[in-house]
Symmetry: C2
Subunit: 256 residues, 2 copies
């Protein structure tokens, strides 16, 4: 049975999409079948993997509102073992259209139920908001991976996110674990990054991944070629760090 | 009559809040009365100016839903000439509660009508989404300032944002101008930044501000002290660039 991990943080620009794409590819590189669900209307996971937006293509929007089963919408990528459920701007309408529906927070969970047995991992890239799309992803997931930049505003949002996760656990009776907190774009030359990292390690202790993702321009270049970092520049520090993260997640699973 | 400028881009982490806070302070430093409206449930403009979140304080949420006039909720900041309409996580509920209301997109416009004559500039810090909060800000504004990072995903979202602005103009009959496109966190040592900047200048020509905001750690440090960059480190490159931006906006107004 596949494990479903939501990649979420309502703070914008913290590396959710970069982590979703590159962790999915690094897990697939371990000879595993992986599905990446793009649940952000910006569709950055879709274009970051070189898939053009096409108004005639089925996306997460149709799957969420139940008009098509997930198998009809999932497409292969150029990367071995990695499949994608694409997204485009139409997905933004789901935040309004889901409001009226019964069990609006479980739509993605139900849609993914059929896909769980086909993939070893399913990753969900979330938008920068605690909206119905993110609530759907958290309700569908077994665990949540929280990318965070070591900066002041990023610290602010963490308590809101943890609060939302706790509310999901209580109100939906859903056992959502924290897969881990991932420090991204880490630049150890600045005091700010070191200070924020210390604060986070004290507060969250062993929930923080040992793997830290460094700030590396190659990671920002890769999506403009439609490739995960493993295909774009496998010897870069960015690629090494996501390969290590995948190993850490696989090891954590063995021991839990 | 005060000019209302929305600071918007649905791409996360591009410098909306940093621009809203520091441009507001730089305009106020020209002996002008400026109001900063925090319209993001993250409340980063609020904490970035050193205002603690307080559940008993009135915020943008109450003003939007019409339970209190804006004058009751606006508070002074430690910075001369700069006032703030604060926000907190409660504002997230407005995206759902506004859906049912008539003229849901004009709530902020109506709320600001009384305040326009009291301030020379009103800036609105938007969340990273094309949601009802951002639609409200665009419908209330005379112009929109679009911060953008010179990176691949940031380019992706621009056409969606321009599409939304055009739709606002057509469907609400509202003459919304582009105040300008602002390049932020610019690092001229990378090819990616130079390439993206070239693409943007070709595409948008004179809609791009001459002022470019450099990547500068002092800008990321300032909010952890609750201060705009002008108070935290006025001699930094970050402060200089926002002072220049304020001058450029004031000059553009003279000549238009
Ligand atoms: N480790 C890194 N080093 C350098 N650049 C990075 C790194 N991780 C991400 N980036 C770049 O930073 C920007 C923000 O990252 P990304 O888009 O992945 O964040 P996000 O959280 O998904 O944003 P959003 O909130 O808009 O969904 C992108 O331009 C990306 O290419
Ligand atoms: N010019 C700059 N140089 C260095 N760091 C910057 C600069 N501008 C902003 N930052 C930092 O980058 C991060 C993102 O900026 P900011 O929070 O202002 O973006 P935003 O668009 O408001 O994000 P969101 O989409 O979450 O609202 C913050 O930690 C901020 O301190
Ligand atoms: Mg993203
Ligand atoms: Mg912001």
């Amino acid at each position: 049975m596949g494990k479903i991990i939501a990649v979420a943080n309502q703070k914008g620009g913290v590396g959710k999409t970069t982590t979703a794409i590159n962790l999915a590819a690094a897990l697939a590189a371990n000879d595993l079948e992986v599905l990446l669900v793009d649940s952000d209307p910006q569709g950055n996971s879709t274009t970051g993997l070189g898939i053009d937006k096409d108004p005639d293509r089925l996306t997460t929007y149709q799957v969420l509102l139940g008009s098509h089963p997930i198998q009809d919408a999932v497409i292969p990528t150029a990367f071995q073992g990695l499949s994608l459920l694409p997204a485009d701007q139409n997905l933004a309408a789901a935040n309004i259209e889901l409001v009226e529906l019964p069990e609006r927070q479980f739509k993605l969970r139900h849609a993914l139920a059929n896909a769980r047995s086909l993939y070893r991992y399913i990753l969900i890239d979330c938008p920068p908001a605690l909206d119905l799309l993110t609530i759907n992803a958290l309700s569908a997931a077994d665990s949540v991976l929280i990318p965070i930049q070591c900066e002041f505003f990023a610290l602010e949002g963490i308590s809101e996110l943890i609060g939302t996760i706790d509310r999901i656990k209580e109100s939906f009776g859903h056992p959502l674990e924290i897969e881990g907190i991932l420090l991204t774009m880490y630049d150890d030359r600045t005091n700010l990054a070191r200070q924020v990292a210390n604060d986070l390690r004290e507060f969250f202790e062993n929930e923080i991944f040992r793997t830290v993702i460094p700030r590396s321009i190659r990671l920002a270049e890769a999506p403009s070629f439609g490739q995960p970092i493993l295909a774009y520049d496998v010897r870069s520090r960015g690629a090494e760090s996501y390969i290590r993260l995948a190993k850490e997640i696989l090891e954590n699973e063995q021991t839990s």
